[in-house]
Amino acid sequence: MNHEIKPLNVLVKGLLLFLLFNLVIAAWQPRVGQFSLYNILYPGRERLPFGENPKQSYNLSLFNLDAMFASHVIAGTPKADDEFRVIVIGDSSVWGTLLKPEETLIGQLNEASLNACKKNVRAYNLGYPTISLTKDVMMLSYGMQYDPDLVIWMTTLDAFPNEKQTSTPLVANNEANVRGLATSYGLRVEADDPNFEKKSFWEKTFVGDRRSWADIIRLQIYGVMWSATGIDQFYPAEYEKAKTDLDADESYHDLTSPLNEDVLAINALGAGFHVAGETPMLLVNEPMLISAGANSDIRYNFFYPRWAYDEYREIMFDLSERNGWAYVDLWDVIPANEFTNSAIHLTPAGEKLLAENLAPYILENCK
């Protein structure tokens, strides 16, 4: 038998196999993100992966929801009989910018060792640091697979403007998921929304989509450092405090009074409750900084002019009353000195105070 290897044949066969592999990947689009080393080789993350400086935070932003959730501790934690499972969705204030996992609202709720319906409350952080109700609904639909007993949806006016719904990269890169929610739960999405990233056939091949594949692999590798250090965020030694001296500016996203469903994605709230189905959901207007500096008679903070925010609160009360939604308005429960680098980011003490304010509603909503 002749065992001589002909390099040219090896090269040609190798190239053909690689081409075939690329075509199969493009046609099949396997959900490789579901396979994760988290919760197997190392513990799951306490919050979803997000990071703009991976080498310092041992964390990175990616758009593959399967991989993101597979890396989360909730994916590897079977629900115990005595567990009252609470998932919390929302923006960076929930995720916990500048906070360690145990300092976030979720960390503080777990620290409080609450007992609801004779079960131990265990909260999971499914917040993600971009503000959009559509993004929240998308995360909620993923979170529902983990059988929560209660959903807490922390939100604020800035998540409502229609223009912000699909512009966040996580939503823009998950068109199929969002359209699925539109079909199943009536989430409003424009048919020709230009924000969605369309991938050509070639961009779906292994070579064309190499960035996504690399992100999934990097996420697995950074799991080592997450496990070794418990760090999943870069904590700067100093940061600029949220502004309290504000411009005399009444504008808000080019919107005018009165705010209504034409300009706000109020429909997404309904879709969210629809997604939650029988599971109780508590809608929370999250705390914000109420500044007392220059022009605070015009604006509450950097984000909101008073007129817009006041109208928003009225809309939320009306909506929740009309729809029978469990709604809590905690907009002013945190003193101004407990905010960090943004009008919605809290200090650890602020989060503790928020958890204390929220705890009674958790107990109320158990069934």
């Binding site: 040219l8 991976p54 080592v224 450092m225 496990s227 070794a228």
Partner: protein
């Protein structure tokens, strides 16, 4: 070196291998190497010095060749042609100052043309003056040696690098605030210095082959090996350079491309992935548990191996496309059963260089004493001194000093232990199974000794290194 640059160099080398022959290849190697030393030099905060440092490399190499060449070779007309072509390439690069679209070979806009011309004039006058001397004195070679070592120290001692940066900033009229020792980076000088010292010492010993300027320049700044070695010997290199080159054949292309691909995989897949979790100054203080500390120490040990041996494979692969067979630098060093064998197989060309130009001469000198030292004392002195020097080659700092000391003492202890137990070990390991046990335990012990040594190497602070070592054995 970034992946795109490696691929460009590999493609250029492939084209050279396919289309050029003999003289064409020789000119390609020279001109490409000159261009590459400008291309790879990173931007520096000191104005103009990312252009001046490659010029300084060229001037230094030309002067060293002049000192080391024999009279007959020195007088050959082709040297003048080489000199003119190299100068023309540099001047053309300098002229891209006026055409921003062509500034692809320099990290920043090249400086004033007049300054380059003045440097050329001074260098030319120096060469002219030297050529008027009827005979060379050995002291010129010693002077060259001292100059090269002096420059080397300037770049490796942080305080000296700082003051050099300070002086150069003053010279260029730049602000002295924020002067850092990292301001002055002379890419490839470590390897250039080794090659220069090798030729100077061989000339002093009368064993340097006769090489013309083109061959000498190509040897010292040969682009595949410019930044990360290996450190070839000139007599071996010119043998390949002078060998008939009938172009790239499939028989050469396959092993060359295989080596190149292996190197790319080692460096850009394995090493870069391990780099995300390998020990460094930041994570050394962040790791919470002993188990994970072991993981990041192991990750560093493998990362440094795959990174360095990957670069070597890339250099060997590209060089083979050009018809040059560079020497091997790594031969499964982590699978060696003792430290002596580890060092015979890790960065082999560096250890061979130190053996030839430091360890052997110093041993001979110590033996020549009227009252020679005892053998163990002599071994201790030479091993520790050699490893300390290898440490200093990476930088004259406490962490590299400790790393050198660690290995120097390790080699000494192994030497003594091996001497004492050789006979007993041979008797005990009478069966293949016992031999395997001995071998595997030797490999594990050696690997861990080396891995612990990397802790000193990886961390800039000896205190942090000590804390990591403690953490590894914490209960």
């Amino acid at each position: 070196m970034a992946l795109d640059r490696i691929l460009i160099l590999a493609a250029a080398s492939l084209l050279c291998g396919i289309f050029l022959r003999e003289r064409g290849r020789a000119w390609f190697l020279l001109i490409a190497s000159v261009l590459v030393i400008f291309w790879l030099q990173p931007a520096l905060p000191i104005r103009g010095f990312d252009f001046w440092t490659p010029i300084a490399t060229l001037v230094l190499v030309v002067l060293t060749w002049y000192f080391t060449a024999d009279d007959e070779t020195r007088k050959q007309r082709k040297n003048t042609i080489v000199l003119l072509i190299v100068a023309s390439v540099v001047l053309l690069l300098n002229l891209t100052r006026f055409v921003p679209q062509l500034q692809i070979f320099t990290a920043s806009r090249p400086p004033q043309l007049e300054t380059t011309l003045i440097i050329f004039l001074i260098s030319g006058l120096t060469l002219l003056a030297l050529s008027r001397l009827t005979r060379f004195s050995a002291s010129f070679l010693t002077l060259g040696l001292i100059l090269t070592i002096g420059l080397f120290l300037t770049l490796k001692v942080p305080a000296l690098t700082y003051w050099t940066s300070y002086a150069l900033r003053s010279l260029t009229g730049q602000s002295l605030d924020g002067t850092r020792n990292t301001d002055f980076v002379w890419l490839g000088f470590s390897y250039v210095a080794f090659r220069l010292i090798h030729t100077i010492r061989d000339r002093q010993m009368g064993r340097l082959p006769s090489v013309d300027l083109g061959e000498y320049l190509t040897y010292v700044i040969f682009f595949p090996a410019f930044t990360a070695g290996p450190i070839d010997r000139i007599e071996r290199f010119i043998k390949d350079l002078r060998a008939p080159f009938a172009g790239l054949t499939l028989g050469t292309f396959y092993p060359a491309s295989q080596r190149l691909l292996l190197g790319l995989f080692k460096k850009f897949v394995i090493a870069d992935a391990l780099a995300l979790i390998a020990l460094n100054d930041t994570n050394a203080l962040q790791v919470k548990s002993t188990g994970w500390m072991w993981v990041i120490v192991y990750a560093y040990a493998f990362q440094i191996y795959f990174d360095f041996s990957g670069y070597t494979d890339i250099a060997l692969g590209i060089a083979r496309l050009l018809g040059i067979k560079l020497p091997e630098n790594f031969a499964s060093p982590y699978l060696k059963p003792n430290l002596t064998q580890f060092w015979n197989n890790w960065h082999m060309t560096l250890t061979q260089w130190f053996r030839a130009y430091f360890f052997n001469p110093i041993t001979r000198w110590l033996r020549s004493w009227q009252k020679p030292l005892s053998m163990p004392m002599m071994i201790l002195l030479t091993q520790v001194a050699t490893m300390l020097l290898i440490g200093f080659w990476h930088g004259v700092t406490w962490n590299f000093t400790l790393w050198g000391l660690w290995h120097g003492l390790g080699l000494f202890i192994h030497n003594r232990w091996s001497d004492m137990t050789k006979a007993k070990a041979a008797t005990w390991a009478g069966t293949p199974a016992k031999q395997a046990v001995l071998n595997i335990s030797g490999i594990l012990l050696t690997f861990h000794f080396v891995a612990f040594g990397w802790i000193f190497f990886a961390l800039s602070s000896p205190v942090a290194s000590w804390q990591v070592l403690l953490k590894l054995f914490e209960r």
